[in-house]
């Protein structure tokens, strides 16, 4: 078959369809992953001991479990206890749970790094504890957590590919189907790889710009030279 025909009439359209699904997966997971991360971090750091324990256990369990196994549990396991999710829903739920746990770790680290004086100052102005957390501590912590959170976002882009393993035909799934049907493994997966590289590279650049824009003066990173 003509290379150009294969590329432009078969491979690229399929990949574009897959890309749309991939972007949907990311768009549906990322905001909830962030919200969950914030909730878990705050719950762990400032919550009632029982809530704090719950948050810690959640992070512990999720970080120890392979995401692919988590997806299997949600998609193949849950029906056996009476909960049936579509593959798309199961994927999103898995990504949110996973992304949320990792985000929580970064946010918690940032929360810890905020000086105690900030809370004292806010309380002295008459704010309640929750008001202080919401309007003084969290805005600072989130800013500090941005490098970690962006990393996790990039991971989310890449790990969204695992949805294919529970039958969602997203970008890598689309590539796999074309590869198998037309026996063009290297070309198809290389093309899929390029799309991911583009996605990841664009995101990395965007994230760097974001980091610079919200950087707090006086925290410039130094890169010592090791040349001699």
């Amino acid at each position: 078959m003509d290379q150009a025909v294969f590329l432009f009439d078969i491979l690229l359209p399929a990949l574009m369809q897959g890309l749309v699904i991939t972007l949907q997966l990311i768009a549906c997971s990322a905001p909830f992953g962030l919200a969950l991360g914030i909730a878990v971090a705050v719950g762990r750091q400032y919550g009632h001991p029982a809530i704090s324990w719950l948050c810690r256990t959640y992070v512990f369990l999720i970080k120890g479990t392979p995401l692919l196994l988590l997806l299997f549990i949600l998609y193949f396991g849950l029906p056996s206890v009476g909960i049936t999710l579509t593959a798309f829903m199961a994927s999103i739920l898995g990504f949110i749970l996973c992304n949320g746990a990792y985000n929580a770790e970064y946010i918690r680290g940032a929360l810890i790094s905020i000086k105690e004086g900030q809370m004292v100052a806010a309380r002295s102005l008459g704010m309640t504890r929750w008001q202080a957390i919401r309007s003084v501590i969290l805005p600072q912590a989130l800013r500090r957590a941005i490098p970690g959170l962006s990393n996790e976002f990039i991971y989310l882009i890449k790990y969204s590919s695992l949805a294919y393993m529970i039958t969602v035909i997203e970008l890598s799934g689309a590539g796999k189907l074309v590869a198998t049907k037309y026996f063009t493994y290297t070309e198809s997966f290389a093309a899929v790889g390029i799309v991911y590289l583009v996605l990841v590279s664009i995101t990395t650049i965007a994230v760097n710009i974001l980091e610079k824009r919200v950087a707090v003066p006086g925290t410039v990173r130094a890169t010592p030279s090791a040349q001699l």
């Binding site: 512990f60 369990l61 970080k63 120890g64 479990t65 392979p66 995401l67 692919l68 196994l69 988590l70 299997f72 549990i73 193949f76 396991g77 849950l78 029906p79 056996s80 206890v81 890449k158 790990y159 969204s160 590919s161 695992l162 294919y164 393993m165 890598s172 590539g175 796999k176 590869a179 493994y185 290297t186 070309e187 198809s188 997966f189 290389a190 899929v192 790889g193 991911y196 590289l197 990841v200 590279s201 890169t223 010592p224 030279s225 090791a226 040349q227 001699l228």
Partner: protein, 225 residues
Amino acid sequence: MDILPILIDWSPYILSGVASTLGLVLTALGLGILLGLPMALGQVYGAWPVRAVVGVYVWFFRGLPILVLLFLFWFGIFPAIGLGHLSAFVVGAVVLGLRGAAYQSQIFRGAIQSVGEGQMIAARSLGMSKFTAIQSVILPQAMRIALPGWSNEYPNILTDSAVCYAIGVVELLTITSRIVTQTHMTMPVYLVAAGIFIILNYGGLKFLHGLEKRVAIPGFGTGAT
């Protein structure tokens, strides 16, 4: 039906899955050091073509999902270069290792660069060659600095190793799925598998943190004083 008898029946099979998973992880970690350390040295001390090649390698392997890398090498690249006879296990371990090298090289690079400039200057002022200085002054310090970050590669590779299921490596997740199919004890079997992964995860981390303490030097790096 109860889960316990099933587990006992299947335990040799489960253990072989654990062994296979650990085999993947250890090979990948080993390959990651073997390739990642020279890459880091190349990036810090090498001429620009070396730095460029390593940079592209890192960009490529960190930019692609592990699933796509496994597909690309298993179905595409290895057969195309005449390595189609390699077992899924070998391909899985090699791909995890190649990818691990990309991540680990950046951990090592950061560690090497964080060793104070004065260390190299002092070493050279004593008449050490650059090679000797790197080998006996820079690297012993850099490796200690890198260890905590490097330890965190272990859980990453462990959880990624489950994706090798996709190319038919008979590791823990594959075994789990087979037991599920055979026994129809879906949820309990999955949860047991998750439990095993969690134990492997934190057991390994505990070991690595113990190692960190063992090689810690008073007042140096993040080690305990």
